[in-house]
C-alpha cells in the first residue's frame, strides 16, 4: 500500500515536472509571438520621437519605460485621411475574398475528382496542378504581364485591375486549395456515397448532399488559408494592382518613401492587419479545429 503510494507520488512529481516544463514552453512561445506584435501596437500609438527610444543595453528596468508615453492615434487617422486606406482595405478584401471563393469552389470540385476518380495518370495530373504553383513569381512576371495587358486588365480602371488581381491570386490559391482539400475528401468513406447512389442519387447530388457537408471543415480551412495567402501578397499586387487597385500591403510599403520611412504608419497598418484575425479566429475555432469531424467519420 505504502509502496504504491510512493510510486504514485513519484509519478505525480514527474508529471508535475513535465507539466511545468510544458507551461514554460507555451509561455516562451507566447512571448515570442506576442512581443513583436505588442511592440508594433505600442509603437503605432507613439510619436516617432517616443517610438525611437530604447534604454541602454542591459538596463532591464529601463525597458518599463516602453509604456510611458502620451498616446496619439494620428498614425491611424493619417492612414485614412492623408492616404486612402479605407479604399485599399476594400481592394484587399475584394481581391483576396473573391480569389479565395473562386479557388475554393473550383478547387473543391477538382479535389473531389482527384480523390475519387479513377483517372489514368491521376498522379501526374495532380502533380501538374501543384506544379503550377511552383514557378518563381519573378521568372514568369514578364509573360504574365503580357497576358494581362492582352486581356486589358492593366488599363487604368479599378475594376479591371481588381479582376486582374483576382485572376493572379487564383493562380496560386487554386492549386493550394485542390491539394489541401484532397486529403479531406479522401478521408470520407466511399461507402457513404455508394449508399446514396444506391438510393438513386446522381454523382453530383451525392457530392452536394453527402460529401460537401462532411468536408465543410476542410473547405472552410482551405478558404481561410487561401484568404491569408492572397491577403498577404505583395509582388503580384505591386505589379498588377496598378494605382487603382492598390492593396493594403502595397500601400503600406509605399509609406517607405525616398526620404523617410513612416514607421508610425507602417506599424499602425500592421496592427490593423491583425484585427481581422480576431474575427477569423472565431471561424478557425469553429471549423478548422473543433469542427473537424473527419476522425469521427473515419471510425
Amino acid at each position: 500500500m505504502a509502496r504504491t503510494e510512493l510510486v504514485s507520488k513519484a509519478a505525480k512529481r514527474k508529471r508535475a515536472f513535465w507539466r511545468t516544463l510544458m507551461y514554460i514552453a507555451i509561455a516562451a512561445f507566447f512571448l515570442w509571438t506576442t512581443l513583436p506584435l505588442l511592440i508594433m501596437a505600442l509603437s503605432s500609438i507613439k510619436e516617432h520621437r517616443d517610438a525611437f527610444q530604447i534604454p541602454q543595453v542591459g538596463d532591464w528596468l529601463g525597458a518599463l519605460k516602453i509604456a510611458s508615453f502620451s498616446p496619439t492615434f494620428h498614425h491611424y487617422t493619417d492612414l485614412f485621411t492623408k492616404e486612402h486606406f479605407a479604399q485599399f482595405i476594400l481592394n484587399s478584401v475584394i481581391a483576396s475574398g473573391s480569389a479565395s471563393i473562386i479557388a475554393v469552389s473550383l478547387g473543391s470540385l477538382a479535389a473531389y475528382g482527384l480523390a475519387r476518380g479513377k483517372i489514368p495518370g491521376e498522379q501526374h495530373l495532380s502533380f501538374w496542378i501543384l506544379s503550377t504553383r511552383m514557378a518563381p513569381v519573378v521568372a514568369v512576371m514578364v509573360p504574365l504581364y503580357s497576358i494581362f495587358t492582352g486581356l486589358g486588365l492593366l488599363e487604368p480602371s479599378r475594376w479591371r485591375n481588381l479582376l486582374g488581381l483576382i485572376l493572379a491570386y487564383t493562380t496560386f490559391d487554386l492549386p493550394f486549395a485542390v491539394w489541401f482539400m484532397r486529403s479531406f475528401f479522401e478521408d470520407i468513406p466511399v461507402e457513404l456515397e455508394e449508399a446514396a447512389k444506391v438510393d438513386g442519387c446522381s454523382n453530383l447530388k451525392a457530392f452536394r448532399k453527402i460529401i460537401l457537408p462532411l468536408a465543410m471543415p476542410g473547405i472552410v480551412a482551405a478558404l481561410i488559408l487561401c484568404l491569408i495567402f492572397s491577403w498577404n501578397d505583395f509582388i503580384f499586387a505591386s505589379i498588377f494592382g496598378q494605382q487603382a487597385a492598390k492593396t493594403l500591403p502595397v500601400a503600406t510599403s509605399e509609406l517607405h518613401s525616398t526620404v523617410s520611412i513612416e514607421w508610425g504608419g507602417i506599424l499602425a497598418s500592421g496592427t490593423l492587419l491583425v484585427v481581422p484575425m480576431l474575427f477569423l479566429g472565431l471561424l478557425v475555432k469553429k471549423y478548422l479545429v473543433q469542427g473537424m469531424t473527419m476522425g469521427a467519420v473515419r471510425q
Binding site: 520621437r49 525611437f52 505591386s238 505589379i239 509605399e254 517607405h256 526620404v259 523617410s260
Partner: protein
C-alpha cells in the same frame, strides 16, 4: 491684353505670385508669350487625353501631385501621377519599355539606374522642341537654363546627341552635421587631439575618421557615433563609396568623360593602388561609423542621424525637410549645419592625385516613353515642360518642399535669403519640446534651401562626380557593393576585394 495676361497667370497658378514678389518683371517669364491666344491653344490642344507619369516617390513629385490643379486648368490633360519606390519604378518602367507597351507616357528617369540602361526607349526631346505646334516655356529648355550641366547629366548618354530627359529634381549630397554637439564636445576633442572639433569645407575624410573614433570611444549620453553612412547593397552603397573614392585623388573606375559615359568602357581601374588604399580607408570609416551603416540606405542613415545617434551624415539635400522637422528630428531647431562633403586627404592619396570635396547625386529626369502613342507623347511633353518650368518649381519649393533644377529659381530673392539660416524666412508651428525645456516654435519655410549653398558649390568640377554612366550600371554596382561589403565585413582584404571587382567588372563589359 491685360485681362488675358491675368487669366494666363491664374491658369498656371501664379495669380498670387505677382502680388507677392514682383519678381515677375525681373525674371524673364515671358508671360505675354504664354498668354498669347495661339499659345493657349497649343497648351489646350490635348485636352481630354489621359496620361500616366510613373515617378519615384520623391518630395518634388509629392509636391507636384498636390499642386496639379494649375496643370489641369492650363491643359485639360488628365494626368495620373504614380509614386513608387525607385526599385519599383525601375521594375515597372523596365517591364513596360522592354515589353514595348508604352503604358506610362512619361516616366522618372534617374540618370544612372534608369537612364543609362534605357535611354534609347525615351523619345528625343529635341523633336518636341522643334515642333512648332507645341508651346514653349519662358526661358526655354536649353542647357544653360538648368543648373550646371544638369541637362547633360540627366539627358545625354554616351555619344548620342539625343536629349532623353529634362532635369526634374536634384538630390545632391552635402554633409549634414550637428553644430551643437560639435561645440559642446570641442573641449574634449581638443584635450585628446590638440585640435578644435570643427567641420569646414576643408575637413578631410581622414579627419572625419578621427572625429568618428573620438565619438565612438567617448560614449557621450546624447550621441553615440560620429557618422552614419549608407553602405546598403546597390545604388546607395555605390554613391556612398564614391564620395570617398572620388575625393581622394579624383579616382574614377574608367577614364571616359563622366558626364556622358561610355557604352564600352574598356578595362576598369579597380585593383590599382589608389583603389586598394581607398577600400582600406573606407573599411576603417565603416568600422567607426554607426553599426547599421552597411545595411542602411539614405533613409536609414537619416533615421540614425535624426534620432541623435550620429553627429554627421553625408546626405542628399532633399532630406533637410525631415532633418528640420522638430516633430521627427532631434537635429532640428538650428542644430544642423550643411556643408560640402569632406575633402580627400593627401595621406590617403597615391601619387600626386588631387584632393577634392567629392560630391555626387542622383538627378531624376523626366523622360517621354518611346512606346507611347504620338498624341500621348506630346501631351506628356506638355507635362514635362510644365513640371520643370520656373513657375512650377518655384511654387512647389515654397509650398511643399521641392528640389528645383532651374537656375532662375535659385536666383529668386526670397530663395536666396533662405540659403542661410539667419536670413531664411521662417514659419510658425505648434511648439515642440526638443529636450527638457528646449522648445522649437518655428521652422524654415524652405528647409531644402539651407542646403543650396553647398549644393551650388559642389556641382562643379573638380568636386563633382557624375558617373559611371554605363549601360550595365545596375549590375556593375551590385558587383561593386557586394565586394565592398565583403571587405568591410572582414571576409576579404581590400586588395582581394578590388581585384575581384576588377575581374567581374571586366568580364561584365566583355573586356
Amino acid at each position: 491684353m491685360d485681362v488675358t495676361r491675368r487669366e494666363a497667370l491664374k491658369k498656371i497658378g501664379l495669380g498670387g505670385l505677382v502680388l507677392v514678389g514682383g519678381h515677375i518683371v525681373k525674371s524673364p517669364l515671358g508671360l505675354t508669350q504664354l498668354a498669347h491666344a495661339s499659345d493657349d491653344k497649343k497648351w489646350k490642344q490635348f485636352a481630354g487625353s489621359k496620361i500616366v507619369f510613373m515617378s519615384e516617390d520623391t518630395p518634388p513629385t509629392a509636391a507636384i501631385k498636390s499642386k496639379i490643379k494649375p496643370f489641369l486648368e492650363l491643359t485639360g490633360i488628365d494626368i495620373e501621377i504614380i509614386e513608387e519606390h525607385l526599385d519599383i519604378v525601375a521594375e515597372k518602367v523596365g517591364i513596360d519599355v522592354r515589353g514595348r507597351k508604352g503604358a506610362y507616357a512619361c516616366y522618372y528617369s534617374q540618370d544612372k539606374p534608369i537612364g543609362a540602361p534605357f535611354y534609347k526607349h525615351a523619345e528625343d526631346l529635341r523633336k518636341f522642341e522643334k515642333d512648332p505646334t507645341l508651346p514653349k516655356v519662358p526661358d526655354g529648355t536649353g542647357s544653360d537654363v538648368w543648373l550646371h550641366r544638369f541637362l547633360d547629366i540627366t539627358g545625354r548618354f554616351y555619344d548620342d546627341p539625343k536629349i532623353a530627359a529634362y532635369p526634374y529634381d536634384n538630390a545632391v549630397a552635402v554633409m549634414m552635421y550637428r553644430k551643437d554637439l560639435f561645440e559642446k564636445y570641442s573641449p574634449n576633442f581638443e584635450a585628446e587631439t590638440g585640435k578644435p572639433l570643427v567641420y569646414t569645407d576643408k575637413t578631410t575624410w581622414k579627419e572625419v575618421l578621427e572625429i568618428c573614433k573620438f565619438f565612438k570611444k567617448a560614449k557621450f549620453p546624447d550621441v553615440k557615433y560620429g557618422i552614419a553612412l549608407q553602405g546598403r547593397e546597390g545604388w546607395g552603397g555605390q554613391l556612398d563609396y564614391q564620395r570617398v573614392s572620388y575625393a581622394n585623388g579624383m579616382w574614377l573606375e574608367w577614364d571616359f568623360d563622366d558626364y556622358f559615359g561610355a557604352v564600352n568602357p574598356g578595362p576598369c581601374k579597380w585593383g590599382d593602388e589608389q583603389s586598394i588604399m581607398t577600400m582600406g580607408n573606407y573599411k576603417e570609416l565603416m568600422k567607426y561609423a554607426h553599426p547599421d551603416s552597411l545595411t542602411n540606405d539614405w533613409s536609414g542613415a537619416n533615421t540614425a542621424y535624426i534620432t541623435g545617434l550620429a553627429a554627421m551624415q553625408p546626405q542628399y539635400g532633399e532630406f533637410a525637410a525631415v532633418v528640420e522637422d522638430p516633430k521627427q528630428s532631434k537635429a532640428a531647431g538650428g542644430r544642423t549645419v550643411y556643408d560640402l562633403c569632406p575633402k580627400g586627404d593627401p595621406s590617403w592619396i597615391v601619387g600626386n592625385g588631387k584632393a577634392v570635396n567629392g560630391t555626387n547625386f542622383g538627378i531624376g529626369g523626366i523622360a517621354i516613353n518611346h512606346w507611347a502613342k504620338p498624341e500621348l507623347q506630346k501631351a506628356a511633353y506638355l507635362f514635362a515642360l510644365w513640371s520643370t518650368s520656373h513657375d512650377t518649381q518655384y511654387m512647389v519649393l515654397k509650398d511643399v518642399g521641392g528640389t528645383p533644377t532651374r537656375k532662375s529659381v535659385f536666383e529668386m530673392p526670397d530663395v536666396k535669403k533662405a540659403f542661410v539660416r539667419a536670413t531664411a524666412p521662417m514659419k510658425k508651428i505648434k511648439p515642440v519640446e526638443m529636450d527638457k525645456g528646449v522648445m522649437v516654435d518655428k521652422v524654415p519655410l524652405m528647409p531644402n534651401a539651407l542646403t543650396y549653398g553647398p549644393i551650388l558649390k559642389g556641382i562643379w568640377k573638380p568636386d563633382t562626380v557624375v558617373g559611371p554612366k554605363v549601360p550595365k550600371f545596375n549590375e556593375y554596382i551590385q558587383i561593386q557593393t557586394s565586394e565592398i561589403q565583403k571587405c568591410v565585413a572582414g571576409l576579404k582584404s581590400p586588395k582581394e576585394a578590388c581585384l575581384e571587382i576588377k575581374k567581374k567588372t571586366d568580364r561584365l563589359f566583355r573586356v
